[in-house]
Amino acid sequence: MLNQYYGDYVTVAVFVAVGAVLVGAAIGMSKMIAPRAPGGFKDVPYESGIEPILGGWSQSHIRYYIFALLFLIFDVEAVFIFPWALQLEYFDSIGRGMFALIEMFVFIAILLLGLVYAIRKGVLKWE
């Protein structure tokens, strides 16, 4: 009774399982073979050969956060564009093509406005 749809996703699940087993087996094998001798200077975090100072954290610029935010917004946009792209020819065929096109145009324009705002405010700029 499994139809094509569930069959496909069972296949995906099996791929995940087989992949996990393969990767796990390889790691297990290397664990058995590889030597393990912790301690000494090699366990110190690498900092070009000098002793690390001030722990393992270094400050980064806030603009990375803006990039992630922009990505989130364009990701959501892409999620809306895909169904539209899928059905545009159908919309054309029932005479709603122009409507769908203009709606998407407005949608994209509003989000481009956000990108333009970000660029004009200089948050994507390195000084």
Partner: protein
Amino acid sequence: MSIFIEAAIRAVFVFGFLLVTVILLVWVERKFVSDLQNRVGPDRAGPWGILQTLADGMKSFFKESIRPTNVEVALFVAAPIIALMTALLIFMVVPIGAPVEINGTEYALVGADLNVGLLYVLALSSMAVYAIVFAGWASGSKYPLLGSVRASAQMISYEAAMGLSLVPVVLFAGSTSITTIVEQQQGTFLGVFPAWNIVLLPSFVIFLISGFAETNRAPFDLVEAEQEIVGGYHTEYSGFQFALFFLAEYIAVFNISALTAVLFLGGWSGPVFGPAWIAWVWPIGWFLLKTWAIVLFFVWVRASLPRMRYDHLMSFGWKKLIPVSLAWIILVAIAIGIRDFGLPWS
């Protein structure tokens, strides 16, 4: 029960194919780059050094995986596994040949033909970012953190461009299933030109550029720029765990090449000759030919172009690629309307 067995067989085939490919790919890259740079390259293990990758892989099994004192163990161990798993799983939706008939049953030469194949590819590429974020964060060290913040910002930026570059393909094919997209590219256009999606040239270029950035390859390899941030997110990795990252990176390169071939160069479509028992080999050959051509392009670019500056990279992505791909989407949509109905005023 049989569906589980069939799926398992497919999985073993796909993963085995990828592993053999990667072993070849690393050797091809080293050999090709060394030729371009007037060096000899690997030449000791096997004829022309073809077994070099295998030897390197074997060696990594015998090396200690050093675990520095500051690491967050669970995430540190998980990161390379995530990287490899996502790379392995993306390939399952790529059809490597025309459907083959065995004993009257038709088998598609693809792991699974999902209806939303493109979305699956994008979703898994976004999962790949986790490997880098976890690796950088869990290492408890400065260079990896720096590298991973850079890398994740770069990858998500170009992922946005990649997603948008695929929209015209969907507009053309009216489907998000990769197999359907390949089938749409069969036959010829005007009787001479193959009906490939390469006519969507801007999409093709944007996809390829984002592919370079997604796989952290030169000229976008500042993520692991040895000269600046030592090794980026995998600075603290060694032994087999490093080998996993290495493997994942090369599988990702092959994935992007295969996806480019499938989405823009017609995949397995091409002329077929000979009797039926040999005819099924041709599509696979065409697919491999196209994919390897792009792989060689990747290598060629790596050998030729210098590394980009990070601010240039990011502003190129956001100020050029994304606006251009959005404008291109609208243009293609209008063109499809005109193709179907003619000009609005005529």
